[in-house]
Symmetry: C2
Subunit: 415 residues, 2 copies
């Protein structure tokens, strides 16, 4: 029970949790390199908690997640670029959920307040325009991209979400603005297609992200536990710390990954490791040490039943997964924040089940970081400015890490 | 600055921080296998914070460490076996400090209240007698073993501790009861001997500890930062999680260690790795999953100037070090608690210095876990009961990990 035999979920992503949908809005070009990702809960919401472990967070609606506070369910969680400006994206998500009748019921029919906590990363200016950040419009677009919601009539009830859950939201791809056109009005009775997965890499909130001196991005991973419940994580890696083991050039998280998490990799050439070390040194000297300039944020989701306090504990367990994937992490310059949500479709775990759940949550976070970094592509940041810089993907910085004997596409990890 | 060139302190232990002294009381035999370790601050105390990350903690005087609370200095910190019963050891430490005039000044001369936070591990019954736990007497003995305090006249003043700091307290050894006889009345003007180090392994609070299925114990490590300030950690490893990498049999923390931290080690034989995995499986099935049955506790100390909030942040950084050394950690069954203290002998760090301090603190915690596990010796636990069991040290479980080409004594890691 301390080392559960972890089985990746069918899609290997947050959308493996019944009723959870994910949508991205990606802004790339015209001075922008940023975006927004929305995690939408089943109808009626999901119990939630948060653990903020970085010293420079940017958040919204996190105080109500304290176990002593009244509201015990959230209807969506927003992860966004744009630093504190990006918190405005939650407004668009709230408006969309309100229009569909989803929110905390306040009395009369239709009078609901959608509960939408949010956390942001700092990516301002990386597209060339410091104020080219996501707004409420991108929140709305990401919500639309997540696909149709479950029937509104059940808002306020227990969010079991079984049976009528929407399908996994496919993201907007790695370029262009995700728009309303992607709203998929799937029949509500349609069973979710478990083979679908969500787009990872430089997409949504991960579009302008960096991971140490490399391109960062968005990644996800999931596990089926021995008791049959599922846990999954979705992270946006914009860390000041490095995801790379400085001794070997391998990803710190690689050894925690399960078969299928990553394309086949080998230990890279020592020359590439030395070049990376030199790049890190130069970057560190030039970084300017801006508080809030880095952050890893994410959402852990499970279909087990947990209290708000239990969700906060689950989020805390996830932070150990960050510690194993990034070094350093939780610094004065990071706003590292993890949310955890429990849909309650399955029973409350026994104590052994809870231990396994926490350990798997940490592992999913670690694996999601690896997938985020592997899926990210090289990108030119601060274009047209004096800071213009080509930021390499892991596989462009360590091309020898590709295992030539394996056919996997390195930028599209499969599960 | 993200990867500071860390230089181990001269003694490689918590006592590298000027004015910090450590004393152990070890109870072994006659039904007892437990003990107490006291970390004594310089005269006037040290600013302190705490981060409790396990779900089953046993603590005392931690609420006052909240940054909003009045008292901003502690005079000692107690780490003890005996589960919640062991919190009584703080009484003996308080009495001793009071008698010497050390404490929070309440007005009239001599009217002081020593501030002595404490945290405990669960080791009840491992010596054969469930109630053979440390008491106030062991707290007093550990305080005495830490050696003479600095002059009492400075109690209540800023605890710079420079110049008149006591020497490093040598522990009581690995067997027998540390007693008042060990009280060393060293001349107060004597400069500390930096080559002294503290006893590690199954000593003091680490006497009855376990680390996964192996013998646990107490370890320490220190670093000199680029700005000249020091940071060090002392941990008592009684984790439910394992310190061993299940893929290789190596210590998870080994790769984080600095030259001199550990005796020379090699990757152990696969047969030993398989045997350990089988042992873990059997132990897990039989563990009974007792809440509070495991815990890693410790103290991080620095000579930099930090606020209470800064100390709490430093303690939090240390928990990342636990995540890298133990898996799982911070579970529902662990009471993982780290204190951090700042003596203020050196200036407040700049932001880059703070980043380096946090990263080094995490590394010291990781290294201290490795040293604790390597220094621990095999022991028979629950003797004379139906649970009697030989609990192996790491090097007895993985004898092939000893590097025959190196002369180091495996049970006495040197710095």
């Amino acid at each position: 029970m301390f080392r559960p035999l972890a089985t990746p979920g069918q899609a290997g992503a947050l959308t493996d949790i019944e009723g959870i949908r994910v949508g991205h809005a990606t802004l790339e070009g015209a001075g922008r390199l940023t975006g927004t990702t929305v995690v939408v809960m089943p109808a009626g919401g999901a119990v939630a908690g948060v653990d903020v472990r970085g010293a420079a967070p940017g958040t919204r609606e996190t105080d109500l997640l304290d176990p002593g506070c009244l509201v015990d369910r959230v209807h969506a969680i927003v992860l966004s670029g744009g630093s504190a400006f990006g918190l405005a994206t939650a407004e668009g998500v709230m408006d969309g959920l309100y229009a569909a009748g989803h929110g905390w019921p306040m009395g009369a029919p239709g009078e609901v307040v959608p509960i939408v906590p949010a956390a942001v990363i700092f990516d301002l200016g990386r597209g060339g325009d410091f104020r080219g950040h996501p707004t409420a419009a991108e929140g709305a677009a990401a919500l639309a991209a997540a696909g149709a919601h479950t029937p509104a009539g059940s808002a306020g009830s227990a969010g079991l979400g079984a049976g009528s859950a929407g399908s996994a939201g496919l993201g907007a791809g790695s370029a262009g603005t995700a728009g309303e056109e992607q709203l998929s009005e799937a029949p509500e009775s349609e069973a979710p297609d478990r083979e679908e997965t969500l787009t990872e890499g430089r997409v949504g909130a991960g579009t302008g992200a960096r991971a140490g001196s490399l391109a960062g991005g968005l990644g996800s991973a999931s596990t089926i536990l021995p008791d049959g419940s599922r846990v999954a994580a979705l992270v946006v890696v914009n860390a000041i710390g490095s995801p790379v083991d400085p001794r070997t050039g391998e990803l710190l998280a690689a050894h925690h990954c399960l078969p299928g998490d990553l394309p086949a990799l080998v230990t890279p050439d020592p020359g590439e490791v030395a070049a990376y070390a030199a790049m890190r040194h130069t970057e560190a000297a030039a970084a300017g040490l801006l508080p809030g300039g880095a952050t890893t944020i994410g959402v852990i989701a499970t279909d087990a039943t947990l209290t708000k306090a239990g969700c906060r504990r689950l989020a805390g367990a996830g932070h150990d997964g960050l510690a194993r994937a990034l070094a350093p992490v939780h610094t004065m310059l990071d706003g590292d924040t993890l949310f955890a949500v429990a849909t309650g479709a399955r029973p409350e775990p026994c104590l052994a089940g809870l231990l396994a759940l926490h350990e798997a949550a940490a592992a999913c976070v670690t694996r999601a970081v690896a997938r985020a970094v592997l899926a990210a592509t090289s990108v030119t940041m601060w274009p047209g400015t004096e800071r213009e810089q080509r930021v390499l993907s892991y596989l462009d910085a360590f091309p020898s890490a590709r295992d030539g004997s394996a056919p996997s596409s390195p930028t599209s990890p499969t599960c």
